[in-house]
Point group: D2
Chain length 225, copies 4
């Protein structure tokens, strides 16, 4: 069965932009954080956080974090995801969870070609049968899974603070990233934007956030067109 990506925002720091504004003001004020919080109207929060972001002063946005439940992504995608080190992960283990009915991610380009899709599906079915056979032969799950494909579906709970998220969006919404993690990152951005609109207003690749592309010959050309 093919998997479809599914992301839920489980939790986040309450009143995120208000906390960021108070933390940032504290650096330049003799007042206490609680006094600063009291004086912060929603309008002042918004204008102050927008100003922070335009200056590239990102350290105060570390105070707020976002926890996502991510499902329906491949192990190819999760291997890229966990390379982001300023984050916390809890991932479904193929050592401890039985994969006798694994789902898989079918790349859109392959889905679009009936011949390629047939090759792909046959291979998925073969992997399932071979896995089941190994389990039947008494092999351990942690070993049988060596023949499971990169396409195999996985689930994670992931937490990132807003600064790390901005970096994640910059790298992974870029056209140079692979389609699967790009789709995941885009879903995540849609979830956080309503909650911290001033922080994530210009989130995305550097062509969006700064009007710059550093990809050289490998650029998608979006900026020059």
């Amino acid at each position: 069965m093919t998997a479809t990506p599914h992301v839920i925002l489980l939790e986040h720091t309450p009143e995120p932009e208000r906390i960021v504004a108070a933390a940032a003001r504290l650096c330049y004020s003799s007042s206490s954080a609680t006094d600063l919080l009291e004086r912060l109207t929603p309008e002042r929060v918004q204008s102050f956080v927008s100003h922070l972001m335009s200056m590239g002063h990102e350290s105060p946005i570390e105070h707020i974090s976002f926890t996502f439940a991510i499902e329906g992504i491949s192990r190819a995608c999760s291997h890229q995801l966990v390379r982001h080190r300023i984050a916390s992960y809890s991932q479904q283990s193929q050592r401890y969870v039985n994969m006798q009915q694994f789902e898989f991610v079918l790349p859109p380009q392959i889905a679009a070609s009936s011949e390629a899709a047939a090759v792909f599906s046959a291979q998925m079915q073969g992997a399932q049968e071979a896995y089941d056979k190994l389990i039947e032969l008494g092999m351990q799950q942690e070993d049988a899974r060596y023949l499971l494909p990169n396409a195999c579906e996985t689930k994670l709970v992931m937490t990132m603070n807003a600064r790390s998220l901005l970096n994640f969006f910059a790298l992974r919404i870029c056209m140079r990233a692979q389609w699967e993690i790009r789709a995941l990152a885009s879903q995540m951005l849609e979830l956080v934007q309503p909650i911290a609109p001033s922080i994530f207003a210009k989130a995305g690749p550097s062509c969006v956030s700064e009007g710059i592309c550093r990809e050289g010959d490998l650029s998608c050309g979006r900026l020059s067109s």
Copy 2:
């Protein structure tokens, strides 16, 4: 004027232990995080998180974070505090904030000796007068502050996740830590314990959490008495 330490818990991840339990279970389950969350009664959360902690499986507790407003501590203390690198800080700046009425932290041992306290207070007053004089002479705040004492009060907003907090409590509630950061850490622990009781039940130095002391000759002797 002497400063007194004051810590407020500004925000934290909502329902922290429930999130931790769901994240931890996900690793060993074929269910989705949302299904796991639904099935988690408060009792199961508590027993599951307590079990996690007894096994030393700390990675799931990274998903929850705590943001504190800290005031009334010295720059001596904040210099120790910011050495904890898995954390986020926004600190009142002596470059940008005028220190013409600075408060200071008076060490209890000094307060207890009238002669020492007199020497200390005179030095604080001298520092204030010299600072004011330098400002009057047109020196910049960022330079005038070079004569301000370590005792000078500072304010911070700090965020740590629960795993980093446990490490902070282990090192800084230990009798080998200095009295000021020990008091700060103890106040912080009192604030987080009611919110995540199973996670912080045995928080503190290794003599409390594990019944072990690694301080050798420098041990306070608590365990051997």
Copy 3:
């Protein structure tokens, strides 16, 4: 073709224990680091670093780092490896490198059963043929690789400092870790031990380094036997 694990220590901080000893002494001395270095005979380095390690004072060992070339491991293993976040990785990309002659890691338990090994090998061959077919059909490498198995061989350059390595050895040489990363970690330990013998003398799981096991019911029982 089956892959065999191969690890080389490419580079490391020169004179690692001497640097650690000087850094650690600096904290408690009025001398300069260069004066401290001059006075450090090999004997004093060894006794001082051994003392540090017995006290669990690990921060000075962060100053030294080790860079490894790792080959012949599976993507299952590398997915576990990159979860160690205090480290730096450069990994061979399945997006950019053609996998038309991929090697694979054969789990020993499977190799030991002729029937299981036959199922496994057939599946590896099927994956290779299906991959080649998708490439022939014009699919992109980054998509065709979705059907490649976890067993697929990968290569990395990895750098860790000594403190992060100790944590890595503690978790991954433990009998609870999977055989492949356990073998990798053991090879790495053999490479660094001659270079920093006092630091890595007791490296390994907590049963070795501290005489404690926290795995509860899941313990291998080594300590209690």
Copy 4:
């Protein structure tokens, strides 16, 4: 006695740019790291690393690290320094080291005004006398130091990898940084540039490395002049 800043590069990863080039090539090659290393002539290393830097692909430069002995800086400066979290520090402790002959950093702007310098020096002398008096009265060093000034000299051993160093130079060589840490960062850059010339060729604030300033109203105006 006034302190003067003094930085020594104690150690660094040997052949740093060669390691970076091999690590970076590994990502896009089917060859082993050792084969790649063999084929890397100095010319190819230089052109490849320069290309990497122009693309902003910084992850491979994490593999190399630099360890500095830093002396003659103030505690004001070290408090800023240790805010850089992707780094390792061993700092002389005012709890354990006697400060009865402390040196201090005299800000140049204050040195340039005889009246200000007199106020400053008197305050330093007063701090020394008060500190000595507290010690004489039996106060502990860790408490007596509360009256020591921010100007008080400190020593550190610090290790950063090249990626973290680039970020450090970007923030701290900027005209918006304070003069003392700016001087320190500039000295460090001079020490590493000959060792990894292609990596640090354009190191510095974003006006130097990218021709951009994000400081808005607070900009030094260097770019617009």
